[in-house]
């Protein structure tokens, strides 16, 4: 009842912590499950918001430094928002010798990204490289969210991106 009387912004924040609480409860408020909790939180928000990390630390009775330490150690965790489409370009040995760098260059050029800036302003795309996707027979490979694209060329990368941009523009 009382929540309805709160300001809308507050409501949003409350809801955010409700979701967080649900996730933490799902993992039994167990500090040992910190990594799984962070994964679930990131799946929800596409990144780890700072206030969420502090909230998790308090809930699990852990020092915030411990939680930040874990969040910054693992490559999967992002402290900045990631794009709706995460592009993983495989830079495993097989892809590397078959010019995966050319794909990275083409995508960076197309989306106006650099090594330091890997997410587009509109939060549509994030570009990352991974060490091996295990599809070496199809090198060079990239994955957009869960879709694997094999035997890619810089040209095909641009086409795939154009398709997504077009689809998004229609929605």
């Amino acid at each position: 009842m009382y929540r309805q009387q709160e300001k809308p912004v507050m409501q949003q924040t409350m809801r955010k912590f409700d979701t967080l609480c649900d996730i933490i409860d799902r993992f039994d408020r167990d500090p040992a499950k910190l990594i799984s909790i962070l994964q679930a939180v990131q799946a929800e928000y596409r990144y780890l918001p700072k206030e969420a990390l502090a909230y998790i630390a308090t809930s699990l009775n852990l020092p915030p430094a411990r939680v930040f330490g874990v969040a910054t150690f693992y490559a999967h965790f992002a402290l900045e928002p990631k794009g709706k489409y995460v592009i993983h370009v495989c830079d495993g040995t097989a892809c590397h010798v078959k010019n995966s760098q050319g794909l990275v260059n083409a995508i960076q050029k197309k989306l106006g990204l650099t090594t330091d800036k890997n997410t587009t302003e509109d939060l549509l795309f994030t570009l990352e490289t991974v060490s091996c996707l295990g599809a070496c027979g199809l090198a060079p490979v990239l994955v957009i969210n869960e879709d694997v694209h094999g035997m890619m060329t810089p040209q095909k990368c641009v086409e795939a991106l154009d398709k997504i941009i077009e689809r998004e523009a229609q929605q």
């Binding site: 500090p31 999967h76 830079d91 040995t93 590397h96 991974v130 060490s131 091996c132 295990g134 599809a135």
Partner: protein, 644 residues
């Protein structure tokens, strides 16, 4: 679960009978490879096309024999459309096998499906254009037994991977699955299990090669009620995907191996640690665990033996160092994955300070085979000190990339030329391009060169030449590969993945990378090589865990076998392979130049001259080696030549 349900469960024999009853009603079985490579190549679309095409013909199609209920009749099933795990021949995917005819179709697209159905199922003939063609003789190969890629292999661990439906527990049982677990739980003592594994001579497939039986026995004799089994599926080496294929293709073998291991050491709880980059492996393992639990092969009171074992999946979060066992344990405990000094070994004090057994995926998947067929049969393959078979991920400049399994003691020549089908050029065609090197064991391994082609591959022989089996990535490289670039690639990987605990690893990998960059940029001297070598040795000595200890290996081994190439880079300022842009000069091949003038227009420093429709020329004095002309030429008339 209450007891009445438990007694209703089928036993191993009944489960096997149920499967046989179901499969006997199947007239045709079409197996579609659903490994990562084939799925990326469109295998699922092929499967959908089969369903559409067969249903349109009014045929009875089953896609899942494990689903209960609907299938329990005597009605014949015209076609059983099943998935398999990775069949290994990724280069030729998507693969479609027809049983009982034994026909293997390669590179199948959804458009080929109507023809396959019409020719093979209706007219009982063969679609010849989809058969594998022997690259040298041009001969068509109808089934796996006639394809050299498969003929030369000895598939043990991978056999079930490419045959069984990973989602069908009963098929695994029908193939002899879980019998080894039942025997371990009900018939023999814990010490006997360890003894059988010890007798088999099985050595850890994760890279180290420690005798698995010894590791089990060490953990078994530790005091304490609470012990853990961990399956290390954090396969992070770039260029390796064996463990992924096993987890995706035969998840029950991994689970069965873990149940046996748990009984042997007296553990009640276990974890499978899987990379988050392997979502399909996680899904299939989860499914298989649910099935095994329901069947009574996992969980409480397994096979009514009184022994209980609970299994969890832990998803990694992207850290290569977590493949190291103490780091992996820290990660399961919810901490940063940083290695700890050993001793104490995990066998003494591992997860939560309790005795813990950590084995690699392939090791655990080998365990049921040893208990099923006996240690002698396992020893019949491989060498005296390295018995059994080993899976390798074969990639790079080789005609048949994919997943292979050979007995230890096989030579590199057999792998590269007979199974791999020979060395290719950069465009992927088999030519007479010479073999240059193989990088084995990823960023921790070293390279093998032409003189090692006839060296029998096993744990000890590889160690003696400065390489290691590692997890089993084999990357073949032709003479167009620059070894300094390769060393740099691995060093960059090691620098990124160093956890930062040991100063020498953290700073040393950074320094080595900078030195390699200098060499590639043409700024290196002989002194650079000396410092590089010293740094490499220092990092090797001064690091705590395997990552740091082995990170310098690619540098040391390329320095050992390709010193001349390094010297060419630093003394002659020349990259013999024509890869490092700063050390190459573009040269126009007169015969191929059409005089279109494109390169001339693109050149940012006006170094190219020539009249229209006449051969152009590059002024090496002006050239800044940016490579724009190389990319722009449409006639391949510009190549990286030797620097003057």
């Amino acid at each position: 679960m209450n007891t009445s349900v438990m007694t209703d469960r089928p036993g191993l024999k009944e489960a096997s009978d149920i499967f046989q009853q179901r499969i006997s009603r199947v007239e045709h079985r079409i197996v579609i490879c659903a490994g990562t490579g084939c799925v990326a190549g469109g295998a699922l679309a092929v499967r959908d096309a089969f369903v559409r095409e067969l249903t349109a013909l009014g045929l009875e199609v089953a896609t899942n024999l494990h689903a209960d209920g609907a299938l329990d009749s005597d009605k014949p099933i015209s076609v059983y459309l099943s998935k398999s795990g990775c069949q290994g021949f990724c280069q030729m995917g998507p693969l479609v096998t027809l049983e009982p005819e034994g026909i293997l179709y390669t590179r199948v697209t959804p458009e080929d499906v109507p023809e396959i159905v019409d020719v093979s199922l209706v007219k009982k003939s063969v679609v010849e254009r989809l058969l594998y063609r022997h690259p040298q003789t041009g001969e068509q190969c109808k089934g796996k037994d006639t394809i050299p890629f498969y003929q030369r292999q000895e598939r043990r661990v991978l056999k079930e991977c490419g045959m069984l439906d990973p989602g069908d527990l009963y098929e695994y049982i029908n193939h002899g699955g879980y019998e080894a677990a039942r025997r371990a739980l009900c018939d023999i003592s814990d010490a006997d299990i360890c003894n059988e594994i010890l007798q088999s001579g099985l050595r850890g497939r994760g890279g180290g090669g420690f005798p698995t039986g010894r590791k089990w026995d060490l953990t078994r004799i530790q005091p304490g009620d609470q012990k853990y089994v961990i399956c290390n599926g954090d396969e992070g080496d770039p260029g390796a995907f064996m463990d992924r294929s096993v987890m995706e293709g035969n998840p029950h073998a991994v689970i069965e191996g873990m149940v046996i291991a748990a009984k042997a050491i007296g553990a009640q709880e276990g974890y499978i640690y899987v990379r988050m980059e392997y979502p399909l492996a996680i899904r299939r393992l989860q499914e298989a665990m649910d099935q095994a639990r329901e069947f009574g092969a996992l969980g409480e009171n397994i096979f009514n033996s009184g022994f209980s074992f609970e299994l969890h999946i832990m998803e990694g979060a992207g850290a290569f160092v977590c493949g190291e066992e103490t780091a992996l344990i820290a990660s399961i405990e919810g901490k940063r994955g940083m290695p700890m000094p050993k001793p104490p070994f995990p066998a003494q004090s591992g997860l939560w300070g309790k005795p813990t057994l950590i084995n690699n995926v392939e090791t655990l998947a080998s365990v049921p085979l040893i208990l099923r067929y006996g240690p002698e049969q396992f020893r019949a393959q491989g060498t005296e000190k390295s018995p059994g078979t080993k899976t390798f991920a074969l990639t790079g400049h080789v005609a048949n990339t994919g997943l292979i399994e050979v007995p230890f003691g096989a030579t590199l020549r057999e792998i590269v030329y007979e199974i791999g089908g020979g060395v290719t050029d950069n465009a992927g065609n088999v030519t007479d391009r010479p073999f240059k090197a193989v990088q084995i064991g990823g960023p921790s391994g070293g390279c093998l060169v032409a003189e090692h082609l006839d060296l029998p591959l096993d744990f000890d022989s590889l160690g003696s030449v400065g390489a290691m089996v590692g997890s089993g990535g084999l990357v073949v490289m032709n003479d167009q590969t620059c070894m300094i670039s390769v060393a740099r690639f691995f060093m960059q990987f090691a620098r990124n993945e160093s956890c930062g605990k040991c100063v020498l690893c953290r700073e040393g990998t950074r320094q080595m990378l900078a030195l390699l960059d200098d060499i590639i940029a043409g700024e290196g001297t002989l002194e650079t090589l000396e410092i590089l070598e010293q740094t490499a040795e220092a990092v090797k000595i001064g690091s705590l865990c395997g990552l740091g200890k082995t990170a310098p290996n690619p540098v040391l081994s390329t320095l050992r076998y390709f010193r001349k190439e390094y010297e060419a880079h630093v003394i002659d300022k020349h990259c013999p392979a024509g890869v490092c842009p700063a050390l190459c000069t573009p040269v126009i091949i007169d015969e191929l130049c059409t005089g279109c003038g494109l390169c001339k227009r693109k050149c940012p420093v006006e170094a190219i001259s020539g009249e229209r429709k006449e051969v152009h020329h590059i002024d090496q004095e002006k050239c800044i080696k940016c490579g724009v002309c190389l990319e722009s030429c449409r006639f391949d008339a510009i190549v990286q030549g030797a620097a003057q």
